[in-house]
Symmetry: C2
Subunit: 419 residues, 2 copies
């Protein structure tokens, strides 16, 4: 007599990859459990706006279980997965709760920022991957001006209002462009003893140009735009130390009380527990069908997966790739259940967009490259469109309209415990 | 030769009282410093909506220095005032920074919730006075359902979905009415293993009726409305213990993992450092002109002030009273500077409003008493009108419209460090 209980599929992570997979199982005869450390999905492309007080955390987050409310065969659990035990087909939870058994597993836990062997720098240079990270950056950025207003020490005031961003990729560019606008336009009237317009925003990039994934012409444009706004851009700038006093770049020491890290990723430590081959960033070197070599019942998607394209390059760690991979893994899993062979994944590049400041962005779509106002409008449109839920779209539109016309930021909130 | 430096006025607290005072000094030849522990003013009447995931923290807060951006003779400092030293005319700061000297002082630090000698209950029954309090209540409320969904223990599940609110004043009534709507309307579809509609919301009041400051007919109406919504209301219910397992009421023990405290206030400990007579709740027994007896240069306003009315009753600790007192203290202070005698303060009762649930509220304005839909509409109008800033009004309107038509709550966010 055949086993009539539906196969148990467990998905780890409620980001773009995990959700895309979960949605694919709607109405299928499977029993799905999605586990995430938090109760909410974060729209990561707008995380930098939370970090810079433009949006509230709830504007870019939605409860995972609300997103999946109509997927009645999907149960959502709040839990922190500590390790995979592939031999027993079980997940161990960090809180010591009962292990979670699976027949099939889709891993989509994402990545954290990485300090390339300098973990001691983390307390002085928080990165931007989670909502908590964003709130910590917001707290440090806003607190710097409060402290500058209270101090009578001119050198300390200068250090407090010098903001250093390490890493010239999209996150670093977006943070720098937003911060310079805030210090020059949003804050000046509110302070009596400190001239916030004199604040420095310094963007450090180790490589020869900003936005290395973009064509060179757009990298140059981004740099010119940032410099026009007042950002000090330094390329070829190798950071050799970060501490409570500031940042060392080669032989120069930049006194700063607020350094932000946008320089690199490290995959979730879950990868190590798989016993599969990993790349230098700790990502799982998956098979072409996104499964783990030797474990056809385990798929890895999103930032945890190192996926090679046909031309030998790597699929980038961006939201559209995670989306595609999650859906592809789910389709392959359903094919396995039907006794069909899995199919290799092919990345479809939907283009790349990075915003620099008001009315300024850079965009690449296939052979189309553009910058300035048109790219900025496109950026607005795409980000509103992809936000989950009517409420968030409506509120983000109000926030952006308010910020555009008043130059103010709506969420200048410092809370002690909020991070 | 007369002293030409303007008199130094220090205001402690950026709530309703402190802000009303600060705004009164606009354009006057005085040097004002306002000190607050946080960088933001909180619109306390809507704090319960943050606690119940309806509004984001930033919807009901505004940076204090932004509110006072046009009061160019007012400097705003972020700082925690630990004590007043009236003999030296100085304030001591908790962070050990240089003491702040004053010629005149207006104290408006507000109140905390109080456990009437049972401080050990606090970890198990958080109160609702600050933004951090609200986020902690939100976290516990939302986390309860996450845990209930994961547990296989039926008794534990019942305890997790039993919510007890201690205190039947406006805050308790508002929390209970909102929570019952959430468990019955917002959450059911999102959970697979727990039926959130079966959750219990229990409102405990020590006295004989809810809303003791309202007329008896409206207390009865509030009780009937809450019971119609599904809240279990118990009056004459004296809490004798609160611990990690639940609440003891007389001989009955109610198992609950989420108890919320809305039962009493205790004035800021700053009062004790004044050396002035205090009442049982730690409030300063001020002179009729709101000054501290024996210290004409110190005024106390808002929740820290015990102000007697002409009929012998006390002025209630509500936002309109704090507003009036702040402005009155500032006017008296300016009269002192002009060499004129101060004037006694007279409380103007602007009425009282408490919301019970959608389309339900109770209202008293002079001899006018009403309940139901009209009171609810009035409540909406008054609260939108008094919110500070166009942005907050616009966003709260969007949130409320969304909640009204979908029964959903827009801010169902659990964050670990956010409290």
């Amino acid at each position: 007599m055949p086993n009539q209980t539906p196969p148990r599929i467990v998905i780890v992570g409620g980001g773009f990859g995990g959700l895309a997979a979960a949605k694919h199982f709607r109405g299928k005869p499977v029993d799905v459990t999605l586990i995430d450390r938090t109760n909410h999905h974060v729209f990561q492309p707008l995380l930098y706006q939370v970090a810079t007080a433009g949006l509230a955390p709830s504007d870019i987050t939605v409860p995972i279980r609300w997103i999946l409310r109509r997927e009645t065969n999907v149960t959502v659990f709040l839990g922190d997965v500590a390790a995979v035990e592939p031999a027993r087909r079980e997940l161990r939870l960090a809180d010591g709760g009962a292990p979670v058994a699976y027949d099939y597993l889709i891993l989509a836990p994402g990545a954290r920022h990485a300090y390339f062997g300098h973990d001691a720098w983390e307390p002085f240079a928080p990165g931007l991957k989670s909502l908590e990270d964003a709130l910590e950056i917001r707290r440090r950025f806003l607190l710097a001006f409060e402290r500058a207003e209270r101090t009578d020490d001119a050198a300390e005031r200068d250090a407090l209002t010098t903001f250093v961003i390490v890493g010239g990729g999209p996150t670093g560019v977006e943070l720098a462009g937003t911060m310079i606008e805030i210090v020059r336009r949003a804050l000046p009237r509110d302070f009596r003893r400190v001239d916030t317009r004199k604040s420095r925003v310094i963007l450090l990039e180790r490589g020869p140009r900003l936005l290395p994934s973009f064509p060179e012409s757009l990298s140059a444009r981004a740099r010119a735009d940032l410099e026009a706004l007042g950002v000090e851009v330094r390329t070829g700038a190798v950071v050799t130390d970060v501490n409570a006093r500031g940042v060392r770049v080669g032989s120069e020491f930049i006194p700063s009380r607020a350094v932000f890290w946008a320089a690199g990723n490290m995959a979730s430590p879950l990868a190590a527990s798989l016993g599969a081959p990993l790349d230098d960033a700790g990502r799982v070197l998956v098979a072409p069908d996104l499964s783990v070599p030797g474990h056809p019942e385990i798929f890895v998607v999103g930032d945890l997966a190192a996926v090679r394209r046909e031309d030998g390059s790597w699929v980038p760690g961006v939201a559209p790739a995670a989306n595609q991979e999650g859906a592809h893994a789910a389709r392959n899993l359903l094919r396995l259940l039907d006794g069909k062979p899995t199919r290799p994944y092919r990345y479809v590049n939907k283009g790349e967009l990075t915003v620099i400041g008001r009315n300024r962005a850079v965009a690449v779509f296939g052979n189309l490259r553009f910058a300035g106002y048109a790219a900025w409008l496109l950026w607005l449109f795409v980000h509103i469109m992809y936000l989950v839920g009517f409420r968030n779209r409506a509120i983000v539109l109000v926030e952006w309209a308010y910020a555009y016309f008043t130059f103010q930021r709506g969420v200048r909130l410092i809370t002690s415990s909020e991070g």
